[in-house]
């Protein structure tokens, strides 16, 4: 027997290990990044891009592979409730692709300028991606906590990236809020463990099928856990930190932070449908999620109308998008939720693109924009070599490109035809109309319509102010990486509507899969085909 065949028997094929690659690869490369000197910028940029590209390829491969099943990866090949499992199903694969695409765009954008605004940008960026990927893939609650913390720790660094008084002040608040959220997370997880004796999501769902004496305490645990996720989703009244923090962060950091609130949304969707779809706690928290979603849409709409800067407006747009998915989940209609998942993908791309556009438009106008040193010993003027190493040149058509991009973002976020925002909202409406119309259905329809109007008006106003009103300062200059990143995000938005049929069908199939958690539970707990090592 050769070594090769031995490996094949014990380790399985290469493809079986795809699931863990989005976690192992970024953290390994991030470790290398921290060892490399800041001056080896080209090497770092190349490594980071290659990593995110491989991660994107992995995500797409998983996206194609999972089909209507769940791919379960058992670490160390320990059986499910005892060992740690990673589960890739339709929803995880979709979110992985979303995170990788947004990450790629934000990373490429940072090459133009912002990656030089402080030390260790690329390493932190990859760690953030690792945490996000892990949160999408993990199959148990405690690893979810660990991945959340990795993601948050990296995000603290990214919010502070570039330094300056505004970032440090908002960063302090951001860290405090998220530390408290983590404590809620821990209390919830330990209450669930104390009552159910397991933290594996599939095992929890199976045990919930039988009535338990401690249901009340378990539900309290879930509610406390839910508070932690709603803080991450920035649901009203727990999300006041989001617009300020995202507006203060540098543009590429804010763009990738847009996926963070979607991690919270993902977990709420996943756990609600898995644990409370049926069994002893059926429908738990649904009304609360609906109410929180509606209130978040309302608050976000009022906030975006009051926003005076584009970055703040983009922050409120992130809130509205989270609120929409939460409210759609709260209605309990499959058609509405699938429309909302489709909307989530499009609106995340658009919000990320809006953060990047805002930086291009506000560049040079805002004194807080400039980076200031915190630690003098490691500080080099970040932009001192900007002239020497500038990639490409300022494009004459920059204004046209920026205006066109702005138009696309506005149409996407406001949900105006013909772009995906409209298709998503229409799908939600038709999902609501397919059943009996309740007060909640009318409420959601009203909220979504009003939020469209409420998003359109301020974005048009801000667009006119930044693009048409004559200013003293020179027209925006667009460097090639910035153009590539913007074009990529906007192309993704357009692709989402060009292939709207297949995308919506995928979302519908995903919701159908999530609403039937038996297959997920069986795959994790009874799956005979151990694809681990």
């Amino acid at each position: 027997m050769t070594a090769g065949s031995l490996n094949n028997e014990t380790l399985g094929t290469w493809a079986d290990h795809l699931v863990i690659l989005p976690i192992v690869l970024p953290i390994a490369v991030a470790g290398v990044m921290f060892l490399l000197d800041e001056r080896r910028r080209r090497l770092k940029e190349g490594l980071a891009t290659a990593t995110v590209l491989v991660q994107l390829a992995t995500a797409i491969a998983l996206f194609v592979r999972v089909g209507t099943a769940a791919e379960v990866y058992r670490l160390g090949n320990w059986a499910a409730p005892y060992g740690i499992v990673l589960v890739a199903d339709r929803l995880s694969a979709m979110m992985l692709v979303l995170a990788s695409l947004l990450g790629l765009a934000a990373l490429v954008f940072s090459f133009a300028r912002w990656s030089r605004a402080g030390p260790r940008f690329h390493g932190l960026f990859l760690l953030l991606l690792m945490g996000v990927n892990g949160a999408f893939l993990t199959g148990d609650l405690f690893n979810l906590f660990v991945f959340f913390e990795v993601m948050l720790a990296a995000s603290y660094g990214l919010v502070l990236h570039g330094s300056g008084e505004t970032r440090i002040r908002t960063g302090l608040g951001y860290i405090a809020v998220n530390l408290v959220a983590s404590l809620f997370f821990l209390v919830g997880v330990s209450l669930i463990y104390g009552t159910m004796g397991t933290l594996n999501m599939a095992d929890l769902a199976r045990r919930l099928a039988a009535p338990s004496a401690e249901t009340t305490l378990f539900e309290i645990g879930c509610a406390v856990l839910g508070i932690a996720f709603l803080i991450k989703c920035s649901a009203w009244p727990l999300g006041f930190w989001l617009p300020t923090t995202y507006a203060a962060a540098t543009a590429p950091a804010a763009a990738i932070l847009a996926i963070l609130s979607k991690v919270g949304v993902y977990v709420v969707v996943r756990l609600s449908l898995l644990l409370f779809g049926a069994g002893s706690s059926e429908g738990f928290g649904q009304t609360w999620i609906l109410a929180a979603g509606l209130a978040t849409i309302a608050y976000g709409t009022v906030g975006i109308m009051a926003a005076r800067e584009l970055t703040r407006a983009a922050g409120y747009a992130v809130m509205i998008s989270s609120g929409t998915v939460l409210a759609a989940l709260g209605t309990g209609r499959e058609g509405t939720l699938s429309g909302a998942l489709y909307y989530l993908v499009g609106s995340t791309f658009a919000a990320g693109a809006l953060f990047l556009l805002a930086e291009i438009l506000q560049r040079g106008r805002d004194p807080a924009d400039a980076a200031q040193p915190v630690f003098a010993d490691e500080y080099r003027d970040p932009f001192d070599d900007a002239g020497a190493t500038e990639i490409g040149r300022a494009m004459p058509a920059a204004v046209a490109i920026v205006s066109g991009g702005f138009l696309l973002c506005t149409l996407m976020l406001a949900g105006i035809p013909p772009l995906a925002g409209f298709v998503g909202k229409l799908a939600m409406f038709s999902g609501l109309a397919s059943g009996t119309m309740t007060a909640a259905s009318w409420g959601l329809i009203a909220a979504l319509t009003l939020s469209s109007l409420g998003t359109l008006v301020p974005l048009v106003r801000l667009g006119i102010f930044s693009l048409w009103v004559p200013h003293d300062d020179p027209p925006p200059r667009l460097r090639s990486p910035e153009f590539a990143a913007l074009a990529g995000l906007l192309a993704a938005c357009v692709a989402l509507v060009l292939w709207g049929g297949p995308a919506l069908a995928y979302a519908e199939e995903t919701v159908r899969w999530l609403a039937q958690p038996q297959d997920y539970i069986r795959a994790v707990l009874d799956g005979a085909t151990g694809a681990g090592s």
Binding site: F142, F145, V146, E149, A153, Y156, L160, S163, G164, E165, I168, R169, G171, L172, G173, I175, A176, L179, V180, S182, L183, L186, V187, V189, S190, L191, Y193, G194, L199, Q372, V374
Partner: protein
């Protein structure tokens, strides 16, 4: 034992919440630490309280009661994470003190109308 532990957790949590709502950044840092102590003790309690019971059983061991090792593993992870993040919080706290020139959580004293224009410290 249960009553002592619950009073302890309650005291830690209450002082933590009170300190966290105080206006000085260092008080907030201490409040967060106290809260994380109370949460860590709470995780321990969720594994049920036992005295002298082994968490890991050897082969053929005869025991009447067993301690649940999972919450202990969870507490260890949570401890490390909260310790590291408290350290990070302290660094940001010092940076905020440096750039704003005061230790108020808003970066300025409530009676001041405008934030400090720059760094008033040498």
């Amino acid at each position: 034992m249960e009553i002592v532990l619950s009073i302890g957790i309650g005291l830690f949590a209450a002082s933590g919440v009170w300190l966290m709502l105080r206006p000085r950044t260092f008080q907030v840092a201490l409040g967060l630490s106290l809260l994380s102590y109370s949460v860590n003790l709470f995780i321990f309690a969720m594994g049920r309280l036992t005295v002298g019971a082994p968490p890991v059983l050897g082969k053929g061991a005869e025991v009447v009661s067993v301690d649940d090792p999972v919450p202990q593993a969870l507490v260890l992870t949570a401890l490390v994470i909260s310790f590291a993040l408290t350290a990070l919080f302290l660094v940001v706290l010092l940076a905020a003190r440096g750039v704003t020139g005061n230790d108020h959580v808003d970066g300025r004293e409530p009676h001041e109308a405008e934030p400090h224009p720059g760094n008033p410290h040498p």
